[in-house]
Amino acid sequence: MSVSTTLAPDDEYLLTRETPVQRRRVRAAWLFLTPMLLCLALVAAWPLLRTFWFSLTDASLADTGDASFVGLSNYLFHSGAGWSGILVDPQWWNAVRNTLHFTVVSVGLEIVLGLLVALLLNVKFTGRALVRALILIPWAIPTIVSAKIWSWMLNDQFGIINHMMLSLGLIDAPLAWTADADLSMWAVIIVDVWKTVPFVTLLMLAALQMLPSDCYEAARVDGIHPVKVFWRVTLPLLMPALLVAAIFRILDSLRVFDVIYVLTSNSSSTMSMSVYARQHLVEFQDVGYGSAASTLLFLVVAVIAMAYLYLGRRQLEVRS
């Protein structure tokens, strides 16, 4: 999906004057939209509004019917003892930091690695189709399963990763991958990168195949070094696809939950915003507070997504 086409459609060709044909088309458009909107309204409207409403109450999971309105005090509240609420909860800000850290590093790595792998697989060689198919496996495995496989492999005593690194002499004592505060975020990132690189690779491969070959011909005739060709020609042409891949990854990374929950549970060194929200919502039974956290999460994601789409559109316009 393309950022620019979706937000600023290239539809000048459509009739823009108010004609009967155009009016009929608009009517038909709304008619065509209705089933989808109805379905979304049916399943999403109530839960979302309810989350927003509960964020303003003191509802508890044990009995949500018994909630009373408390205004914004789940977010921020001043009592005699001082400020309280999510916005002054160091745990929440820790979760925000962790999530942003996770998103920046893992999306960054995924994009770079995905691109490299795509460049590698763009070279013609025997068995290319099979290799291309095999690298998709990580993407097809359910997250809940792959996180479990990894937590087994990363186990400090009988995990195969430590075993390998020990026998290769890379480390001299087993590492406590998921327990050590310094390592656990990296463990989470490794697993997430492993899982989603294929997705990026796929998009990049597609993009590479679409590159106009005449640019390359010209570059080769001029005797330009391949590395320079990559920076000057290939990368700029790949930019739109890269941006598209990145928005998907950013949205998902900001809401990351299962990988972290299965690998490291509620440990504060890896707690993401979603894990924080779940902890309050489910484990602490505090539907009001948890809903407020979810609403804040939504706002953070929305702001970042809008900023990204806006910047991405500018970028794409400049390119074309």
Partner: protein, 280 residues
């Protein structure tokens, strides 16, 4: 050997090394899951790289449970229905959003995307109430309907992009001939969209197949449970024991169909996504 030939050979060697590393990196965890699933429970806590004496008891145990097979069946039905429903709804929507310029188009697109910005756990209890109010609790319909909450935004966006990039001459010709929008969509545009439909359908299928939280909450009895829940419900003889062998066997059994699916549709995905991703 001339220096040039040497350089070429070294380059080739390096290239194949890279391919090898890549393959190991991508496939090794899955391979290791297979190795683990073929070990008897006592050998679990020892590291081994190869399959020697494969022990199929874990697979037999998983497949012997009627509820597991039932769960696979349920998952298939749910995922197929979700795909059908999501594709139908987003196809019509994508026609409107991708081919027609009208006021409110941008907000509709943003709203659709916004639905998928909430953490899943937050919408859970609200959705639970909706499901109960509709009387769908503990039926496959509960899952089919609730899965649209995360498949629809995705399918709508992707199909809208594809739709917007189809050459407009085709549609203009159809309009000249006096074809209604429905006929234009189904007769003229749809045939061109097959690659896109396959791509998004596959992605929606994987998402529905792998979903856990909704499936756990909206179904109650074994006869309605889906695969991820069935895996989560596999457990050892006692509350704290984790039967790794069984878990891995079940995971492999569940993943293999997906891998085969991906292999079959691989070409389609690449060509399908290409059309949309690039012309931006």
């Amino acid at each position: 050997m001339s220096p040039r030939l040497l350089k070429k050979t070294l380059l080739r060697l390096g290239f194949w090394c890279l391919i090898g590393i890549l393959l190991v990196y991508a496939v090794f965890p899955f391979y290791y899951a297979i190795v683990t699933s073929l070990k008897p429970s006592s050998a679990l806590f020892q590291v081994s790289y190869w399959i020697d004496n494969p022990d199929f008891s874990n697979y037999a145990a998983v497949l012997n449970q009627a509820s597991f097979l039932r769960a696979i069946g349920n998952s298939l039905v749910v995922a197929l229905c979700v795909v059908t429903l999501a594709l139908f709804l987003s196809l019509t929507a994508a026609y409107a959003l991708g081919r027609v310029k009208f006021r409110g188009r941008g907000p509709v697109l943003m709203m659709v995307l916004g639905v998928s910005m909430f953490p899943q756990v937050a919408v859970l209890s609200g959705l639970f109430e909706v499901i109960r109010a509709l009387g769908l609790y503990n039926t496959s319909w509960a899952l089919i309907l609730s899965y649209t909450i995360f498949t629809l935004p995705f399918t709508v966006w992707v199909l809208t992009t594809f739709m917007g990039q189809l050459p407009h001459e085709l549609e203009e010709a159809a309009i000249m001939d006096g074809a209604s929008p429905w006929v234009t969509l189904t007769r003229v545009l749809l045939p061109l969209l097959w690659p896109a439909l396959v791509t998004t359908g596959l992605l929606a299928f994987i998402a529905a197949w792998n979903e856990f939280l909704f499936a756990l909450t909206f179904t109650l009895t074994d006869s309605q449970r889906t695969v991820p829940v069935a895996i989560a419900l596999i457990s050892g003889g006692s509350p704290h024991e984790l039967p790794w062998g069984l878990l891995m066997a079940a995971s492999v059994l569940v993943t293999v169909p997906l891998v085969i699916l991906v292999l079959i549709f691989q070409r389609r995905i690449v060509s399908g996504l290409t059309a949309g991703a690039l012309k931006g």
